[in-house]
């Protein structure tokens, strides 16, 4: 019983507001430090790739952004489900706060992918399975945000968007695998995404640091957004 009370203690926007502020501050500081470390390792320590030269260094932004873009959708769907199940106000706000960050990371992943693709593949865009499913993910984020924005009552908007997020989350794997299949069906000899067989330790470390930095950044930004939403709504 006591644990149940504890679980929902911070579900009230009122009690969550100061906590969110503290989390945001610490996570923002952590994100800045880790990003600095990650960029230093990525651009200073990591060796030049034997095949791709310096171009490959964009993966320190690209790969973590792509991870976050997919992960944040799941987190968003999780909060959406929680909001529908327990009818907590905060869950809907969390989902709404995560959506722009998720869309941003999806866009960054697409954009950096295009910049990487031009010197490596000779073209900004190929209809590769991953690129295509990432693009569709971006559309799903936009749909979520557009639906939320077009309903005036925030509580109703939260719940409608939550249903959409859940439907989308069920669809994401189906979309991913169908796009992959479509890709193999359409393109005979396609450029392969598989990179050099092994990755230098410094490259891996840089990528992990950047991924951690993006994690903390996402949390910090979501917290700041939730605080704004709490102020706005109440």
């Amino acid at each position: 019983m006591t644990t149940a009370v504890r679980w929902f203690w911070f579900a009230s926007p009122h009690t969550f507001f100061p906590l969110a502020g503290r989390i945001a501050r610490w996570c923002a500081a952590g994100a800045a430090l880790l990003a600095l470390a990650g960029l230093y390792v990525g651009f200073g320590v990591a060796p030049t790739d034997a095949q791709q030269g310096e171009v490959y260094r964009i993966i320190f932004i690209h790969v973590p952004a792509a991870w976050m873009s997919m992960f944040l959708y799941l987190v968003m769907a999780f909060w959406a489900a929680l909001g529908l199940a327990f009818n907590t106000r905060l869950s809907g706000m969390m989902a709404q706060a995560l959506a722009p960050t998720g869309a941003l990371f999806t866009f960054i992943a697409l954009w950096t992918g295009a910049l990487w693709g031009k010197p490596t593949w000779g073209t900004y865009w190929v209809w590769d399975a991953r690129l295509t499913s990432e693009l569709i993910l971006l559309f799903l984020y936009f749909g979520f945000m557009a639906l939320h924005a077009s309903i005036d009552d925030p509580r109703r908007a939260d719940r409608a968007a939550a249903v959409l997020a859940l439907v989308g989350a069920v669809n994401v794997p189906i979309i991913y695998y169908s796009v992959q299949w479509w890709n193999t069906l359409h393109q005979g000899a396609s450029v392969s995404f598989t990179k050099a067989p092994s990755m230098a330790a410094a490259m891996f470390a840089g990528m992990m640091l950047m991924a951690a930095a993006f994690w903390l950044y996402s949390i910090a930004v979501a917290m700041v957004r939730v605080r704004c939403m709490i102020l706005e709504r109440q």
């Binding site: 077009s150 959409l164 439907v167 669809n171 169908s178």
Partner: protein, 222 residues
């Protein structure tokens, strides 16, 4: 429960019969969109044969989208939907019946008319069956997924455009499998895999989408 579902299907079909114009518009749209592509791309037969499955499927998607806006709008406007919400039949069953009626009115005609478009595109006769079958299996999925979007955007300003933004990304797997099955058959291979997946999607959406539609309707009508 089944009676209620049949009653709703019958009622929606009757309404569609009384307002034949609405049904005809979506069908005409399907035909016109498909006819525009040769005008834009050029009438080279090999090219047309290559793009036919994709074009016909995209046209089917858009045509379904066009008719989705009406799915709940009229019932919402005259209060019927609220009565359904209050009624004894589970809302999921009502939603499934509405989806089925929508498919019968706007999905099934596409299946029938698609071979005619295939003639326009000079598709080999042996592919008509696969094309019709893929549409037969795929369009129910479009109706069911689309109904979720229609329920979510019910009574929202700019609902029509929003509906397309919400629903089209979710239609992607159906499009890929549907057009893929015809292309597979055109290449001389067995299209079974794609058709089976389409069938699986149809069963899956028929089982789960009604509950999502019901949840969306409850939210929209509160």
């Amino acid at each position: 429960m089944l009676d209620a579902a049949l009653c709703i299907v019958y009622r929606d079909l009757l309404l569609a019969l009384r307002r034949r114009g609405d049904v005809a518009t979506a069908l005409l749209f399907f035909v016109i969109v498909a006819s525009l592509f040769p005008l834009g791309i050029g009438a080279e037969p090999n090219l047309l044969r290559a793009i036919a499955p994709g074009v016909i499927w995209v046209a089917a998607l858009l045509s379904t989208l066009l008719s989705l806006g009406r799915l709940f709008a009229a019932d919402h406007a005259d209060g019927t939907l609220e009565q359904m919400l209050l009624g004894a039949a589970p809302l999921g069953v009502v939603a499934a019946a509405k989806g089925l009626a929508h498919w019968l009115v706007s999905g099934l005609p596409l299946v029938v008319i698609a071979p005619v478009l295939a003639v326009q595109y000079d598709l080999p006769e042996s592919l008509y069956g696969v094309l019709a079958l893929s549409l037969l299996l795929g369009t129910p999925v479009l109706s069911m997924i689309g109904a979720i979007g229609a329920a979510l955007t019910l009574g929202i300003r700019g609902g029509g455009v929003l509906l397309s933004l919400l629903v089209l990304p979710l239609f992607v797997p159906v499009l890929i499998m549907g057009a893929g099955s015809v292309e597979m058959a055109a290449a001389g291979l067995e299209p079974d895999a794609q058709l089976l997946i389409l069938g699986a999607l149809a069963v899956f959406s028929a089982a789960f989408a009604p509950w999502a539609i019901a949840a969306a309707l409850r939210i929209s009508l509160e």
